[in-house]
């Protein structure tokens, strides 16, 4: 037997870092990291020396100073004496409002258009194609400005509602006024209101919670839960006996009656908008900046969502539809029960991107004078205080946080609905 000797130990040479595949990737990564660190150091150094050259310091002290400007759409109370922080908060809420409204509308529109685009009706399918191509291929900023211009130029001004023979009248039994300043709709009022709970005292983050709303939501939640129990019971009876009891009247009753009782107890009534002075007073004012932004963002994003939905549906094998049809299902039930649930796993991931895009596109709000966070923190506050760096950094952080939250929620939903293989 020959003895095995250890293979000769290879000497490590510097050139191996480059020519030996075992080390090469590590070498490249180390160099890239150095490069990245240099770049970051240069950016920071450049920023600091430029700030020093302008004699400015990096500090967020301006946040506690009084903002001095007014915001027309505010979901919480705000006056021009409040701090810049509170103004930024108002802007953030406005951003969230338009993002949530936009995402909901875009989804509904997008799904309907996506499904209709695959319709066997030639005309409908072509019309939807035209819609998609039209909205996808024109920048969203133009749509926003266009919608706003239409609202402003075509709708009557409040002064057209005045006088003996007004040029314009309110619609829906004098309850809704459509003007070029926005739409005024009736607002819910309570004669025996429970009042508000004030949270966080008088700080910049203060907000009021309406007890009326809380009570109504609680009762509605309980009713829905009760109605759900009735359905479960019907399921059990159906499984045991094969016959499904009629439940719709009990369920409607359980949902409607307690809510109606609570509303009556609180003295619910509607406050109608009325023409007083220069404007309509009372009611809820949906400003046309909000309407224009909401409409344009929804229509634009819906075109993309429609394409995603179409792709999702086309990804489902035709055999599924045929099999469902063979069982005797009608076409709309096939879509709802067989095709769409399977298509969701293809639809949801790109849908997340579109929700993010819509939210980020809402920063174009300033084009129509909607006071979102880009308008308050990144617009007026930045301009009045001259703290560009701080404001823009914060603005980026805010959008990052919003985007990551949307991603997290949608990813969680995706996990919940995706095809589970057993």
């Amino acid at each position: 037997m020959s003895t095995l000797t250890d293979p000769p130990k290879e000497q490590f040479r510097l050139s191996m870092l480059l020519y030996d595949t075992r080390y090469r990737s590590a070498t490249i990564q180390v160099i890239a990291m150095f490069g990245f660190m240099l770049l970051a150091a240069w950016l920071i150094n450049n920023t600091l020396s430029n700030l020093a050259a302008q004699d400015k310091a990096f500090d967020f002290g301006f946040f506690t100073e009084s903002a001095g400007y007014d915001i027309n759409q505010r979901l919480l109370d705000y006056t021009s004496r409040d701090s810049h922080l509170r103004a930024a908060l108002m802007g953030l809420l406005n951003t969230l409002v338009v993002a949530v409204l936009g995402c909901i509308t875009a989804t509904i529109l997008g799904v309907v258009i996506g499904v209709l685009r695959l319709s066997s009706n030639w005309l409908i399918a072509r019309l939807m194609t035209i819609y998609v191509e039209m909205f996808r291929n024109v920048p969203v900023l133009l749509w926003i400005v266009f919608v706003m211009a239409i609202l402003i130029e075509t709708l009557p001004a409040p002064r057209a509602f005045r006088g003996e023979n007004p040029e314009a009248t309110m619609s829906l039994a004098d309850s809704v006024a459509v003007t070029n300043r926005g739409v005024y709709i009736p607002e819910p009022l309570f004669t025996r209101s429970l009042g508000d709970v004030h949270l966080f005292g008088t700080s910049s983050l203060r907000f009021d919670v309406s007890l009326d709303l809380m009570v109504i939501l609680a009762v509605l939640g309980l009713s829905l839960w009760g109605a759900h129990r009735v359905t479960l019971r019907a399921n059990r009876i159906q499984e045991a006996t094969g016959e499904r009891p009629r439940t719709w009247h009990t369920r409607t009753g359980i949902i409607v009656v307690p809510t109606l009782l609570v509303l009556t107890a609180l003295g619910f009534h509607l406050g109608y908008p009325e023409l007083k002075g220069f404007n309509f007073q009372g009611g809820t004012h949906l400003r046309n900046s909000l309407i224009a932004l909401w409409l344009a963002l929804s229509l634009y994003t819906a075109a993309f969502i429609a394409e995603i939905v179409r792709a999702g549906i086309m990804a489902i094998s035709k055999g599924q539809t045929e099999a469902a049809a063979a069982l005797g299902l009608r076409s709309n039930r096939i879509m709802r029960l067989v095709v769409l649930p399977q298509a969701l796993r293809v639809i949801i991931p790109p849908l997340i991107s579109n929700y993010l895009n819509l939210t980020k596109n809402s920063s174009l709000a300033i084009a129509v004078g909607y006071m979102d966070i880009t308008g308050t923190l990144g617009g007026i506050t930045m301009n009045q205080t001259g703290r560009e760096l701080e404001c823009v950094l914060l603005l980026m952080l805010v959008y990052l946080a919003i985007s990551l939250s949307i991603s997290a929620v949608m990813n969680w939903y995706n996990e919940a609905v995706k095809l589970k293989e057993r």
Binding site: G35, G277, N279, G369, G379, N383
Partner: protein
């Protein structure tokens, strides 16, 4: 090799950092062109004409500075800025000076680190409403919808005015004067508020200027003037004294018509010093002796510029008012050239 990269990066960082604080006068001379920030368009003050050339009251100042520094009143690159972008453009060095109806305020001077070199128009904030509303005073505007340019001092004054008079309003924030005009004319807002000169200039472009009234209340002081970056005093002096030269020229009776005659030498030593036939004022500024002559030759003296762009014979139709010479009861007062 790594060392070279590091050194290169450091040198690059050093250069980039240095750019913002270098002497603007040398930069302008080396570039052969003045970068001047103006509004995106306000007739009479700064707007491109039918041939695409910028003209107006603020534009004339840019041209005068270019003429004083470079001897050529056309060597100007006009950079349109909005109320929101103007300060960033100046602070970042994108423009050398800002001549854009900008109000001289404490915080802009002290906190935003700019240097206002003087006032070229004494203004105040006013309100414009359609005549048919029948409003005769700003205090009757309770509940009105007000169009306002964002990022301006007028926005803050507006909030203060309505709060202190205990009346409410609905602000409609707008980015530029053109958008405000569109909304106002369509009736999307009842009132348009900005500096009274801006209101007059905007009204001048309407089809029916007579149907719009500017309310009598002037709710603020708005001294509008050119500004430069804080800390570059040589450049600040050049812009300041160019403006003063235009004002002094009117006071001393120097016009574009008699300029060459006066420049040859007169009995008045101040005129001689100003126009460079005596003394070394130009040299002190780092310019040539004919600097003020060139500045005045560009568009005339202050009075001529005023009359040509925004005066009573123009569609804007502003009276001299506070902007008359101190000798005629106004506020214009140039420090002496000596």
């Amino acid at each position: 090799m790594k060392k070279t990269v590091l050194l290169g990066a450091m040198a690059f960082a050093g250069l980039a950092a240095g750019a913002a604080s270098a002497a603007t006068l040398d930069d302008v001379k080396a570039r052969g062109k003045l970068n001047c920030g103006v509004t995106v368009g306000l007739v009479g003050f700064a707007a491109p004409n039918a041939n695409g050339e910028w003209e107006g009251f603020d534009v004339a100042l840019c041209r005068a500075v270019a003429a004083a520094v470079l001897g050529d009143s056309t060597a100007v690159e006009f950079v349109p800025t909005t109320g929101k972008t103007r300060f960033t453009a100046l602070a970042s060095g994108e423009i050398d000076m800002l001549a854009r109806n900008t109000t001289w305020t404490f915080s802009r001077d002290v906190d935003l680190k700019f240097e206002f070199v003087g006032v070229n128009y004494y203004d105040g904030q006013g309100f414009m409403v359609p005549k048919e509303l029948g409003v005769s005073s700003a205090k009757e505007l309770d509940g009105a919808t007000v169009c306002i340019q964002t990022g301006t001092t007028t926005e803050l004054n507006l909030a203060d005015f309505f709060r202190s008079n205990n009346i409410s309003y609905e602000p409609v924030p707008i980015e530029t004067n053109a958008e405000a005009q569109q909304q106002y004319l369509a009736g999307a807002c009842d009132v348009y508020t900005t500096d009274a000169s801006g209101l007059a200039a905007t009204r001048a472009t309407f089809d029916d200027p007579a149907n719009h009234v500017i309310l009598p209340e002037i709710i603020s002081k708005e001294p509008l003037g050119p500004l430069v970056r804080h800390g570059d005093h040589e450049w600040g002096d050049v812009v300041r004294w160019t403006l003063n030269a235009l004002v002094a020229a009117e006071e001393l009776g120097i016009t574009s018509a008699n300029l060459s005659e006066m420049a040859a030498g007169t009995d008045n030593p101040e005129i001689n010093r100003l126009l460079g036939s005596e003394g070394t004022l130009g040299e002190m500024l780092g310019l040539d002796a004919a600097w003020a002559q060139n500045a005045i030759a560009a568009q005339g003296n202050y009075g001529e510029i005023f009359a040509k762009n925004i005066g009573e014979d123009t569609p804007v139709g502003l009276a001299r008012g506070l902007n008359a010479q101190w000798t005629e009861g106004g506020l214009l007062y140039s420090p002496p050239f000596r």
